[in-house]
């Protein structure tokens, strides 16, 4: 009888977005045999330890558990309880109703952050960006003669893209370590005589890179230059490029075009919110929900190109930047506003970025970008 209750609770949690699989449920039931199940707190703690694996799930777990436990106390027929749980089938009994209310709340609130946004809210976002002065960007008007010249120069900058020593080794005549298995094999054949020293060295891998480019009004003059620069620099290795203004645009397909001008035209077509406002927090949330795989292990270097003048919620921005920081190797903030002497991040948005970024770099002119190209490897070694 008890087991079916807890299995039911597991199901409810799964519906609320907490990953409780059957092996965990089994482990939880095993745990309950070791403790006094009439003690509410002990049961709660035991299930917490066996079923959860991240702190974010704690509030959801507790809300569901509280409602469930209360219902369990009141319910006279435990079987009816678990049967009545599926949502959308309201049962008249009061105990069940309370659970359902709690579950309805749960569905309404944290589900937003757990699941990708539904098409309706996507439409709402688009409407919001309309209000913020959404307009189709005209990249052509930016391409004056000197701009094109400068762009060519930017593209010809040679950057040493940072690499990381991979976990795998390869044999070679030079290297930092002896290839002992090979050495011993040959030595065994030659009567214990070592005639050559086979060596091994680590394979170098370029670090994967994620570029987040601000295409809002205040950044318009820099966005194209940055795109041209990064397109030329990141040809080899794993890269992901996203533009954000009022919402997030995936530029990976545009970036796969070989020619930089073709790429810029494709970007021009794709970015609908060029020159609008900035909602970095919301854009990062979209990235987290829909494209979490662009952050590879914890090796990804994130280049965040923005002036940080965010018009969204500061609290959301902080949360999302913290998440980003937890999932990348380094977070570099490339900020064109840094050209001003004595620039200090005073607004909430820039403050959040300055606190969490590993480095804060100016990129407003060619000289600065040259420095960046040469110094990126250095910047990442800290």
């Amino acid at each position: 009888m008890w087991a079916s209750h807890w299995v039911g609770l597991g199901r409810v949690l799964r519906r609320a977005g907490v990953a409780v699989d059957s092996s965990r449920i089994a482990l939880g039931l095993q745990a309950l045999t070791l403790i006094d199940v009439s003690q509410r707190d002990d049961v709660c703690h035991a299930l917490e330890a066996t079923w959860l694996s991240q702190a974010e799930d704690l509030p959801i777990f507790h809300a569901v558990f509280d409602a469930y436990w209360a219902a369990l106390r009141q319910s006279t027929s435990p079987d009816a309880l678990t049967l009545g749980l599926p949502l959308g089938q309201p049962e008249p009994a009061s105990g069940k109703q309370r659970v359902q209310d709690a579950l309805a709340e749960l569905q309404a609130e944290p589900a937003m952050s757990l699941r990708p946004a539904d098409p309706q809210s996507q439409a709402a976002k688009l409407a919001a960006s309309d209000v913020q002065g959404l307009k189709q960007a005209d990249f052509q008007s930016l391409s004056a003669d000197e701009f094109a010249q400068l762009q060519r120069q930017v593209q010809s900058l040679r950057m040493r893209w940072p690499t990381v020593a991979g976990r795998r080794w390869r044999a070679g005549s030079r290297g930092t370590r002896l290839d002992w298995p090979r050495l011993l094999r040959t030595a065994a054949r030659q009567g214990g005589e070592v005639l050559a020293l086979p060596r091994r060295r680590r394979r170098e891998q370029p670090l994967p890179v994620l570029v987040l480019l601000d295409v809002s009004g205040s950044m318009a003059r820099y966005a194209r230059m940055q795109l041209a620069f990064l397109h030329a620099q990141t040809q080899r290795g794993q890269r992901a490029v996203f533009a954000f203004g009022t919402h997030l645009t995936d530029l990976r397909s545009a970036f796969s075009l070989r020619d930089t001008d073709d790429m810029l035209q494709a970007v021009n077509r794709q970015v609908a919110d060029f020159g609008g406002g900035t909602r970095l927090g919301a854009s990062l949330a979209t990235l987290r929900q829909q494209h979490p795989q662009v952050l590879v292990g914890r090796r990804t270097v994130v280049l965040l190109i923005t002036d940080g003048l965010d018009t969204g919620e500061p609290a959301q921005l902080r949360e999302e930047v913290q998440w980003l920081k937890r999932h990348c190797r380094s977070l570099l903030w490339l900020n064109p506003l840094l050209r001003f002497e004595g620039y200090e991040p005073l607004a909430r948005g820039p403050q959040v970025l300055a606190r969490h970024a590993d480095a804060h770099v100016a990129i407003h002119n060619l000289a600065r970008m040259e420095t960046l190209a040469q110094g990126l490897t250095q910047l990442l070694k800290h």
Partner: protein, 297 residues
């Protein structure tokens, strides 16, 4: 206390931990109790300085087991965590034996148990009775490929060595993993562990801990310290700091105050000792700025 005595119930474990000077809340004790009884690794996540590492030390003392510690770092490898072959000894053996043996036998001979260098994971599996407590500290510092090396150990308490075979645990080691959550761990690791999120202690618990650790401090001072630190961590101030002081910091701070012979907290003494609470210049500046607000009760 004997292992059986401490493990008979949650209350017994709680009392035993307290006797060793570790004051855990019931949530944590339940998690530890279950980890011990179900023989599962326990993953402890939480801010720095909330007592994650300390728990492993206390458990080892309490159960009279040997504490083995693996400190993780970026670039840590199998040979630092699991095992390594003693190549020099292997080579010497080859040279000594080459006249009497065929080369195939020789090759087999150098991969013997006696040429194996044991690292913490393997040591934990082979520890003599009563077994070991293995602390895999700050596992979030290692990179993701390294986590894969841990899976076999965490899931089955065994390690496969290609040249030698599979080594299984004699006595299941008590295994604790800690993470400061600088990144999220892979799901495969989490699935094999029980999980506990360690929060900052409440005022009462902090008081108990500080009193126990710094008995020479006056009651008034410990009370003030616990209150002050709790205020720092409260919602109204926490956002101003990049890194909040943990229990370790409040204990150290109390010791510093005792050393300075401060009878009670005032703005001046807080400023003088701010370096004990905060280790970042920005945080010290924030503290100084917020001090008038923090001092008004």
């Amino acid at each position: 206390m004997s292992e059986l005595g401490a493990l008979s119930s949650i209350d017994a474990l709680s009392a035993a931990l307290a006797q060793e000077g570790y004051f855990a809340d019931r949530r944590l004790v339940t998690a530890v109790f279950l980890a011990l009884r179900l023989q599962r690794p326990l993953l402890l996540e939480g801010a720095p300085g909330v007592g994650k590492t300390e728990l492993a030390k206390v458990l080892a003392r309490l159960l009279q087991r040997e504490l083995l510690r693996l400190q993780c770092f970026d670039g840590i490898e199998q040979r630092e965590a699991l095992y390594e072959w003693n190549h020099t000894a292997q080579l010497l053996h080859l040279r000594a034996a080459h006249e009497s043996k065929a080369s195939d036998d020789l090759e087999r001979e150098v991969y013997q148990d006696k040429f194996l260098i044991r690292r913490p994971l393997l040591q934990a599996l082979q520890a003599p009775a009563p077994g070991a407590v293995l602390l895999i500290d700050e596992v979030d510092r290692a990179d993701e490929p390294f986590e894969a090396f841990l899976l076999e150990y965490l899931g089955e308490y065994q390690i496969s060595i290609p040249e030698l075979g599979t080594i299984r645990a004699q006595i299941t080691p008590i295994t604790l993993l800690t993470s400061n959550r600088t990144r999220d761990l892979h799901d495969a690791v989490k699935r094999r562990c029980l999980f506990h999120w360690m929060d900052y202690p409440d005022l009462e618990r902090e008081l108990t801990i500080v009193r126990a650790q710094v008995p020479q401090a006056s009651a008034q001072l410990t009370q003030q310290v616990a209150r002050f630190v709790a205020r720092l961590r409260s919602d109204s101030f926490a956002h101003a700091f990049a890194r909040l002081p943990g229990i370790a910091e409040s204990v150290e701070w109390t010791q510093a105050l005792v050393a300075l012979q401060a009878a009670h907290l005032d703005a001046e003494v807080v400023q003088e000792t701010s370096g004990v609470l905060f280790k970042q210049q920005e945080d010290v500046l924030s503290l100084n700025r917020l001090l008038p607000e923090l001092m008004t009760d």
